[in-house]
Symmetry: C2
Subunit: 202 residues, 2 copies
DNA sequence: GAGGGGCGACCGATCGTTCGGTCGGCCGTT
DNA sequence: AACGGCCGACCGAACGATCGGTCGCCCCTC
């Protein structure tokens, strides 16, 4: 249910906007223009209401960003709390995390994309950056575990591998489409991580 | 020759800023704050001159961005023109490109980072996006060649592999440090691409 | 008639940009 | 050696536009 417009005598009488639909509209604008380059007037125009009406639902521009960042981070941290991320060998848990992270990226695409572009200009952004750092650190720790457990090749450096892993998986937001379901994408990305993006013929 | 300051009686008389040093300062500011969030006053303060003095050297804010984007794109396209990218088997050429691209990312780190964050708000940005698309397309074509030549595993989808490849390599800018030399990084990234980020023990 | 959703008008601040003018060093002439 | 003219680097002040945000009122629904 988004942007329901009831008509009365040919003129729009009711937009029936809620915080949910407005956030969706705003994040979409943040995506195409970037957060800083998006004005509140851009947002209201996209939502079909005036600037002042927008402030009736959200306390300000940063509150919108904050809501989007929270949503993205909740999706990510939920992965770490899931069953498959807490049981099994380190490599099994890593494979599970990779697949689930791809799913979250696609399912919450606009929100996660905004998160991944945050620079740290405001308090909310710095908070998001720190939480992201914590997420990456948890994954990096798991990579280190896997190497120390002897499940991975000995010549890989855990810290570097964790960074490349994060970079590879997160880069999915650059081209993924939110509408269609992930399909085989999570498995394909997991294969790229563990067997190479361009693996030699066997 | 940058930021030569002639002194007279202990007081700075001349900053002698050139387009080169100012661009360097500006790009650094773009990096930390983001292009849109960086004001001309931010730039002048960082450069140690006034806003109006800045306009003596650059025609405007976008001209600075344009110069940075050109520099980054020149570095990237120079890779495709190099010997190793034009000779050898597709896989050999791809390995060469990956290594060289990592080198360029580190050598021209601030400029390439700015390029990778462009959203397409201005004419210069859209031009840069298009040139970037062309670069990626050239690499993607090479991936397709390699697969069709039977040099890679048959179950990898060229289009997807090319995107993941681009994402992995470019993610280096997120954490690389510009000062110290690349060292073994190019080879490590190339190994991650062809053998996996988290390769199983052999 | 009470209240929430929406509106136009408006606020101070800051944006990128422009303008008129100052300062100091260099050069050609004397 | 002294001079006048010139130019590049720089500055303070101000421009119109736009920024995020506020306010009081209206209108519709219950």
């Amino acid at each position: 249910m988004t942007t329901v417009s009831t008509q009365t005598g040919g003129r729009v009488r009711r937009q029936n906007h809620g915080p949910e639909s407005l956030l969706q509209v705003a994040v979409q604008e943040f995506l195409t223009r970037g957060y800083d380059a998006t004005s509140m007037e851009d947002l209201s125009r996209a939502a079909g209401i005036t600037k002042s009406s927008f402030y009736h639902h959200f306390s300000g521009k940063e509150a919108l960003l904050r809501a989007a960042l929270e949503r993205a981070l909740n999706g990510l941290f939920a992965i770490l709390d899931s069953e498959g991320a807490r049981t099994g060998t380190p490599v099994e848990r890593l494979r599970h995390i990779v697949r689930e992270q791809v799913k979250v990226l696609v399912a919450e695409l606009p929100y996660v994309t905004v998160l991944l572009r945050v620079r740290g200009n405001t308090e909310s952004e710095r908070w998001a950056l720190e939480r992201r750092r914590e997420y990456d650190a948890r994954v990096a720790a798991l990579v280190r575990e896997a190497v120390e457990a002897g499940e991975l090749r000995e010549d890989i450096e855990p810290a570097l591998a964790a960074r490349l892993l994060s970079g590879l998986v997160n880069s999915v937001v650059e081209w993924a489409r939110p509408d269609r379901d992930p399909g085989t994408l999570p498995d394909a990305v997991a294969r790229a991580v563990f067997e190479g993006i361009l693996p030699a013929r066997r």
